[in-house]
């Protein structure tokens, strides 16, 4: 207890958190702009006729053309976060708008987006704007050169969890013993200069698989330990640039590279802020007032409790898959929100059959009538999508005047290079099931075994 009390009462420079806040805000702004310029707002959130919801968040839907407004709010709040203007309000607004965007359609789920949501939630409780920010510049009594150590360690811990859990998830027989799915992905990058031919070699697939696993598991520790820190940071750069070259993963590599800076000492961050100060022509030393941020006991208690609760959930949530029977990669029950990044190559095909229970009349659904190609692709191998879609189809065809509707699906899924196999039981009427957190009994068993975590 004493140790914990001592830790909670230790203080460190605010500079690393300020640097983190600035880069985070700018990166988010760049991501939003990129998303817009790629036409994805229209393509992903306005064009589709139907959106797949997360269980419990069915009320979260795009607003038609006003969806652009949501992105504008998100973009502006990220800039406010970067400059530290009305920080608390800005980061809450960012968290809410960004999370809302992610909840609108689970077709677009990415671990990276979840990471941003979780990180911005954490940042609501961190004193990131009491140094090198507009808030601080406007009122000197809000400037604190030093803050509790845990407020910086919290971000390090979150980054460590992301990497470490991503590494643990790679300890499975497909990844390590079959070099899957890299064996599928890497040879298709045949046209890369220098690497193209090499990526055809089987041993290269194994080297990438194993080193990827070790990288993810070890990198938090290598970053934490001072003697290895600089080397580890170079590794972070090499690793993420390589993933950027090999895979279409957008802004994420840059976000992770910049985030890893938080592990460096305050001196490094003071230098960075010094450089920024020079560029935008302000005086950095006005923030160097040696004041320490002490929370009132009650406030500190609330904040540390929230953060502790947050991390307990983060640590436990990825293990929830253990509560479900069956192969995780196959059923995907407990797959999301667990840092299972780039783990599988999965694709499916789902042909829905509408049956009139009384007359026996039946016909197939042309999915492209209702779904975008992207939605169809994602739907075809994820059971919760399939159920939700079946209920949508029921509504649609009932309105069309069909009666006694039963819906069946002929569904094939291929996982990590295995031959496609039947996925959802073709003999069950999907309308007898609703989405829930219970085990989905209508998923046919996986005809192989994947050992490991």
């Amino acid at each position: 207890m004493n140790k914990i009390g001592k830790y909670l009462n230790s203080y460190t420079e605010t500079a690393p958190l300020a640097v983190f806040r600035i880069f985070f805000g700018l990166m988010m702004f760049a991501s939003i702009v990129r998303f817009w310029l790629n036409g994805w707002i229209e393509k992903l959130y306005i064009a589709p006729k139907f959106f797949f919801s997360y269980y419990g968040f069915e009320w979260v839907k795009p607003f038609g053309d006003f969806t652009y407004l949501l992105f504008i709010i998100c973009g502006i709040s990220s800039i406010l976060v970067a400059v530290g203007y009305k920080y608390r309000f800005a980061i809450i607004l960012f968290f809410l708008s960004f999370t809302y965007i992610e909840l609108m359609d689970k077709t677009t789920y990415l671990n990276h987006y979840y990471f941003i949501s979780v990180l911005s939630f954490l940042m609501i409780f961190l004193p990131a704007a009491c140094y090198f920010s507009i808030d601080a510049a406007r009122s000197p009594q809000k400037v604190f050169q030093k803050i509790p150590r845990w407020s910086i360690d919290a971000i390090k811990l979150l980054l460590a969890i992301v990497y470490f859990y991503a590494g643990l998830a790679k300890i499975n027989s497909d990844w390590l013993l079959r070099a899957m799915p890299l064996k599928i992905w890497l040879p298709s990058k045949y046209d890369l200069p220098f690497l193209g031919d090499l990526l055809q070699q089987e041993w290269v697939h194994y080297v990438f698989s194993w080193s990827g696993m070790f990288y993810d598991i070890l990198i938090p520790f290598l970053l934490l330990w001072k003697p290895t820190r600089f080397g580890a940071f170079l590794l972070v750069i090499v690793f993420h640039v390589l993933t950027r070259v090999l895979f279409p993963i957008g802004m994420f590599p840059y976000i992770m590279i910049v985030s890893a800076l938080i592990f460096f000492s305050p001196e490094v961050h003071h230098k960075i802020l010094g450089m920024i100060a020079k560029i935008i022509n302000i005086k950095k030393d006005r923030f160097d007032n040696s004041r320490i941020l002490f929370y009132k006991p009650i406030k500190r208690k609330v904040i540390t409790s929230v953060i502790t609760g947050f991390f307990i959930i983060q640590l436990l949530f990825p293990w929830r898959y253990l509560l479900y029977p069956g192969e995780l990669f196959w059923t995907e029950e407990g797959f999301r929100f667990s840092w299972r990044v780039m783990l599988m190559e999965k694709a499916g095909y789902a042909q829905f059959k509408i049956v009139d229970a009384k007359t026996g009349n039946r016909f197939y659904v042309d999915n492209s009538d209702f779904l975008t190609p992207f939605q169809e692709k994602q739907m075809a191998f994820q059971p919760d999508f399939i159920i939700e879609y079946a209920h949508f189809l029921e509504n649609h065809f009932r309105k069309d005047g069909h009666k006694n509707i039963e819906i069946y699906v002929e569904n094939y899924v291929a996982l990590n290079g295995r031959k496609s196999a039947p996925y959802i039981d073709p003999d069950v009427n999907l309308l007898n099931f609703a989405n829930s957190f219970e085990h989905k009994t209508y998923i046919l068993p996986f005809q192989d075994e994947i050992k490991g975590l």
Binding site: L110, I184, L198, M342, N361, R362
Partner: protein, 375 residues
Amino acid sequence: MNKIPGFLLILIFLFSACSTENEDKTPDNEKEENSFDREAMLVNWADNIILPAFQNFESSTRTLEEQTTAFIQDPSVAKLEVIRSAFRTAYLDFQSVSMFEIGKAEQLNYRNFLNTYPANTTNIREKIETGSYNLELPSSYAEQGFPALDFLINGLGANEAEIVSFYTENPNASAYKSYLEAVSTRINALTVEVSDSWHGDYRDTFVNNTSSSSTGAVDKFTNDYVMYFEKFLRSGKIGYPAGAFTGEPSPQNTEAYYANDFSKELYLKALESVQDFFNGVHFDGSSAGKSYKQYLDYLDSIKEGANLGELINLQFDTIKAQADSLDASLKEQVRTNNTPMLEAFDLLQMAVVLLKVDMMQALSISVDYVDSDGD
């Protein structure tokens, strides 16, 4: 600390390994074992399959146009038979190029202009009577191409004499003649345009576009190929007439509806073309070159997986064998006993799964250029 030099060593090793490989003058066949030459596959596709197929089709559409001209100069039952035969040859040959909807063909919406069925006969009659039409409009897809021609030479009357009378005794005979000619001319003109583009610059553009991105020729074409099989072969030739998507059999949706006994032949020809393409069989049938089959064999050898190429060929063979139980007229088949049609649909469906899920996963090609980020 240990991990870093280890990783750096690997990196150095990686780069040195590639530089030595590039310097190596390994003979071609030995190199083959280590990588699959996609450019050679594109060359085989273009030079031995696509170009000759278009060349052949172009000569059929030219004949078709010539025979049409001959017919309208002096319409007779004998000359009608000549156009009909030219029509059959051309329609069959079209099945060997329809899947190549890329480049100029894609730009022009070639397939839509040549083969949107069922033909809209009400509109066709109306346009003939008013004499005002513009076949270049996308809204006129269903009023031209082979389905319209089918109607004009097979469907206007109950027998040959009756059909010929539309071009001779009918008060609008000259309008019928000019519409017939316009349809025939347009088929040929569009084909010449596509064929010229392949025989011109596009062949090189296609073959040199070896990029692995979604805009690379292999990725893009594979999407087109699989989509052709799913939407145009499975749904178009079998699914829609069988009412697979509505529950109501719809004979009027059969390809070559008025030619009666022709639809199964078209279906078989399309199947054969798709399978030959899969196996890289040259258009003249003499031999086979680099293809999906070889590409899959190469990737299977890396994965030690099931022989996917064999499975796909087996499925194609099963589909062809099942077609034996179909009437030469799919329209009749739908009317009399729709079950074999639905069976055919299910078998085609299995092939779609193999192509769209298994093959595309093996080739690591994403479906339809979904260009959003991945994890």
